[in-house]
Symmetry: C2
Subunit: 358 residues, 2 copies
DNA sequence: GACCATTGTTTAACCGTTTACTACGGTTTG
DNA sequence: CAAACCGTAGTAAACGGTTAAACAATGGTC
């Protein structure tokens, strides 16, 4: 079996604050106070202690520190997957802000499995993270909401704070912060952009009922149509998941099934747009000359394919989530509980005015 | 607004193991043992305890648990940036394996700043992570190596384990695991692929100076040339950073500066290849008809542009790093300390046999 | 009916910090 | 001149678990 007996496993055990105190000839409390810098101390004592720390290569034990009441130093973020650019960029923002605040970042992934999401939140609760940031869209049925609301309360009770990042709130009395971005507004703006260019039949790719993100985007699309008095044809809303392959599939199937009945495509995100673009090309249709194409997200690949799209402030989303949560936890102030960050369209070269053939 | 006033901030403090014990009518020790499942217990007691846990919504305090000697539950990973696909994929592997082993994952980012890297390792030491995985290439001068070697020793002393992932080892007596992949072999293979297609003048795009990854890739390139008895022209090795923009720049400048003197391009990674491809196209050169193009990494964008490239087992890299480190920490066995994962070329549609014009 | 092995539980000693209290010289102050 | 104050530093009690060792209950054996 494993021996971790004090005898052999480690010739020396790691240095503790006691060792430092002894080495510097002061008390443990003094060392603690000097290291946390939260107390006046005589310069002489201070330098004695610092020297001891250096000589013994001492680092504090985060567990002990956390136990003894000092607030934990960590921020938790839970995402579907680390390799999705969308989540990665939000995570980057979280990282950045966490680093600024001197915290470190615990990451959990769920693979889009609600059960794993719950389990991960629980883990973060064990870990006493200062806040738990849940990012990304999700199927939001009532059972889910109710259960997550419980978790939010449990976190609050433990002095932590749940943050919903890029997803709608759980309910009126749930102690959770919400940092959203304007999906509907962005979709409205970019649809209007197409409409202003004269497009009337705009294919929407990526409809998925009950997923919050595509749902609010499609709302913006419909509203823009209505505002421009363009009749809404539900047949133009194609259903599919939010990845490149699906974008390819949706357009390919659409083109195979009959004559082209649209002049522009609004892909629910840039990945879908990339796939759609490929399918269009393979069908001999050039973007933007033959078909206009827009996306949503403005992640790096969008620039690569000159895609006009909606910019989502991913990193700012992450940073804001951390900032708000920490202020909340620190001051217990009555700060905003719901923030909506703006989106705006980024015009590149994937839209052309429609040429009226009639 | 929400009231979180200090007075009632916590009407109840979070549940402790003592509360559970009282509620179940057993001792604290019994609860602890039943929860960690590391001790026989009567079914009746067990169910009493579990019920109490459920009723009180108890979760253990990770800090206390970590303090009391049970090994920590976390794995640390340090990367340059979360939004780089390369790192993201390795991180995904780390996440996956960590989840399997029931650990969670602390992530630190360095922004390629060695100083921040050191600081982050130190933080992970405080945090008592079971292992610290350092991923990505780095300028590896002697001073850096020596200092990192010290950190490796400090970690080992504390029962943790440094893992270098995708970078060369620090030195002979440094207690650090190394999980690499075969950069040189991959570069050799794909260069040979081009050579077999008849290409003789192959432009190499990437950085040469002291960064470990491009350095070992260029070595494979040169060796393949030598093996095929093709004269090596240093003028074909173009210098630039490892991103898309630079790939674009390098090719553009090259084409602007004189007649095209190459038939194929070996981009040091897929991003460079994507940029190069765009520059080629803008210059009226089609891939692969006019110019063959290969990359390195095999990340998703490569498939999008039909790029023949070298597959790097990113996720496996991460998984292996965690697996090895944990076995090491557990058994203190004399396992392999240095693993080299294989790479292989993935043939898509970006290479054509050269048409001899002479 | 005393003895023993087995099983299940409790007692108590840590783990390494933080943080009230407290102590103590030396100034001010009333 | 005693009292209040100030800046530092020490003492010791948490913090919430784990775990070795002690202990009680149980049933089987001679």
């Amino acid at each position: 079996m494993v021996r971790r007996a004090a005898s052999d496993s480690e010739g020396r055990r790691p240095t503790t604050i006691r060792d430092v105190a002894a080495h510097a000839g002061v008390s443990v409390a003094t060392v603690s106070r000097i290291l946390s810098g939260t107390y006046p101390s005589a310069p002489a004592t201070r330098s004695k202690v610092m020297r001891a720390v250096r000589e013994l290569d001492y680092v504090a034990n985060a567990n002990a520190r956390g136990l003894a009441g000092a607030s934990s130093r960590s921020v938790a973020i839970i995402v579907n997957s680390v390799i999705s650019p969308h989540y990665a960029h939000v995570a980057q923002g979280v990282q950045t802000q966490a680093a600024i605040e001197g915290k470190l970042c615990i990451v959990g992934t769920t693979g889009s499995d609600p059960e794993r999401e719950f389990a991960t939140v629980q883990l973060m609760r064990e870990e006493h993270a200062e806040c738990v940031i849940l990012v990304g869209n999700v199927v939001a049925d009532d059972a889910y909401r109710a259960r997550m609301a419980e978790y939010a309360r449990a976190l609050a009770l433990a002095g932590s704070q749940l943050v919903l990042c890029g997803r709608p709130e759980l309910g009126p009395d749930v102690p959770a912060l919400v940092v959203e971005y304007d999906n509907t507004g962005g979709a409205h703006a970019i649809t209007s952009h197409l409409l202003s260019a004269g497009h009337r039949r705009i294919l929407f790719l990526g409809r998925r009922d009950s997923y919050t993100t595509p749902e609010s985007r499609i709302l913006g699309y419909r509203k823009a149509l209505a505002d421009h008095h363009v009749p809404h044809d539900p047949g133009l809303e194609v259903e599919g998941r939010m990845d490149r392959r699906e974008g390819y599939r949706m357009v390919r199937e659409r083109l195979a099934s009959g004559p082209r009945d649209f002049t522009a495509v609004f892909a629910c995100n840039d990945l879908i747009a990339a796939g759609a673009r490929q399918a269009l090309r393979e069908h001999g249709l050039r973007v933007p000359d033959d078909v206009s194409l827009v996306g949503f997200d403005d992640l790096p690949p969008a620039a690569d394919i000159d895609l006009t799209t909606v910019h989502v402030p991913h990193e700012e989303l992450g940073r804001t989530a951390v900032r708000m949560a920490l202020e909340r936890v620190r001051d217990k102030s009555d700060m905003a509980e719901h923030v909506m960050l703006g989106t705006h369209i980024v015009i590149r070269d994937s839209v052309r005015p429609v040429i009226r053939t009639d």
